[in-house]
Symmetry: C2
Subunit: 358 residues, 2 copies
Amino acid sequence: MHKKLFIPGPVDVRPEILEAMSAPMIGHRTKDASALGERICKNLQKVFYTDNPILLSTTSGTGLMEGSIRSLTTKRAIVFSIGAFGNRWAKLAKSNNVPVDKVEAEWGQPTLPEIVDEYLSTGKYDVFTITHNETSTGVMNPVEEIAEIRKKYPDVLWLMDAVSSMAGVRIEVDKLGVDVCITSTQKALGLPPGLSVCSITQKAIDQGRKVEFRGIYLDVIALYDYMQKKAYQYPSTPSLSHMFALDKQLDYILNEEGLENRYARHLEMAKITRAWANEHFEQFAAKGYESNTLTTINNTKGISVADLNKRIGELGYMISNGYGDLKEKTFRIAHMADRTVDVLKELLDVLDKEIAKM
Amino acid sequence: MHKKLFIPGPVDVRPEILEAMSAPMIGHRTKDASALGERICKNLQKVFYTDNPILLSTTSGTGLMEGSIRSLTTKRAIVFSIGAFGNRWAKLAKSNNVPVDKVEAEWGQPTLPEIVDEYLSTGKYDVFTITHNETSTGVMNPVEEIAEIRKKYPDVLWLMDAVSSMAGVRIEVDKLGVDVCITSTQKALGLPPGLSVCSITQKAIDQGRKVEFRGIYLDVIALYDYMQKKAYQYPSTPSLSHMFALDKQLDYILNEEGLENRYARHLEMAKITRAWANEHFEQFAAKGYESNTLTTINNTKGISVADLNKRIGELGYMISNGYGDLKEKTFRIAHMADRTVDVLKELLDVLDKEIAKM
């Protein structure tokens, strides 16, 4: 039995998109491949609200996170972490011998603009990273406020992980001034995992050229240069199946559902989930910083989350246990991609009934 | 109109496999995901003739080539190149500041065992790379002979690019003594691009642990450790769609077609193509070293390959021009994956007719 997924990726994918995944192969060095790449990039620019180029990488989001922090840091990076995926930035940097410092907020709390100000004012850094939406804690960062403070430090590159929020929440990349904004397909974009994408500014590209050893496969400069030279083609054979699916899904997002409706639906699902969480448990994320794409819930009743997930699994639903040390202490309900309000309500009803029995 | 692909990847994919690509998503941290990963790895062990673990990477083959040469070289690597994809090993090493030397054979020639002996006998190297099947030149290396010589140097790790041959030609990894053997899905395995796989020996893993900065996403040690700890799961979200398709295709290869029949079909297609090439043109690969999965043909008639490809394109077929500097001087006909002898003959008839008109 297929389980309806309320986990923060992979998400359920609409049948039309799954069908697009199964289109026959084409040559990746053809005009058709260039046209496909160009269409995807131009449509992603609308989703990202950017005029900057978009790069596609046949990796998960982690691949582009590693590629960007490694390829673009010439001096030292500062990672503002609010959870497990924030911490990942620092691990990626260290594993590549990239000098890095990390400021980790108490889990459940956001990155405060004054902390960003404090660290960037030292002048020690030429790169900083922000997690837009932290999948482990369900916190969404106040990026507009961070963008305001950041105006004081325009030369420090801003890398942002928007893996679990882009296309579910409005993120105006150019207006914010983000230099590299990363997402991947298996979250709010509503596709299977296997492809990640990022926007990149000229400033980032110029800085990256000064880094001597950037590797090749994950190097954002190598991706950019090839794409520029070879009309939206890529150095290695990309996942064409994901590109077919992404092409179709972007058309749906932009021209059928519409971005505004998509954001509104995500917000409505978030409000319903938060209300349910507040009624039965409590939210893990600090008030005012709750994510629109997933809700992390404190397990105040001390139920067995594993058991709950097993029970609802038999009924065809799946949620996520807490991440890492938060396992059993919290659990997570993702409400993203093409999930509908009705199916979310179905899940909450099932949860009510099963929790009552426990 | 869909063109029948005779290019060395992407290849045409059987409809049942494309359908498997479109299966609904599952959680990547579930027992179902572990069972899927385990089944794939155990079946790939049969295709690789190895008892060593198999790793899956959501990248193209280049990703695992970069990951392995970077993660496993502690001293210095020697690249035995016979063409463009051999040269790629050296570029990947250099871009990661891995000390590397390269010996490049004249294009069209193989790597001779005595050359391997000469370089490994210096004692300077702890890693060497061999291209099993060079896609730019259509040369297949004499790996059994190389394996014989290599017995003198058991401590030097052998990394092998079998991207364009594995599953089309018998490559007995353990018998040869290859430490890391890499392939990707869009060649003789007959799947869409987007996933690569490798086998890895304990000796390679032990050596890799001594390398301090290996990155994370492409690091074969990180993949291995996670897979061991978490029952065939992976550190980042893998391309589940490719895994569904690979699972189904491996069942077909092993239990429906059978490996022996698959190799025989590839050999038959190679013989037919070589005979055609010898009749009208000549082969680029040195005699005795011709690839079983693709044939590179000297354009002795001086026809316009681009024009020929355009003509046959209008009839629903596609071949490859020469690679890099060999463009127009050569052209390539791939005969791999699930291509049938009949459809290959169809192409050769079409080529005959169109060449006669030119």
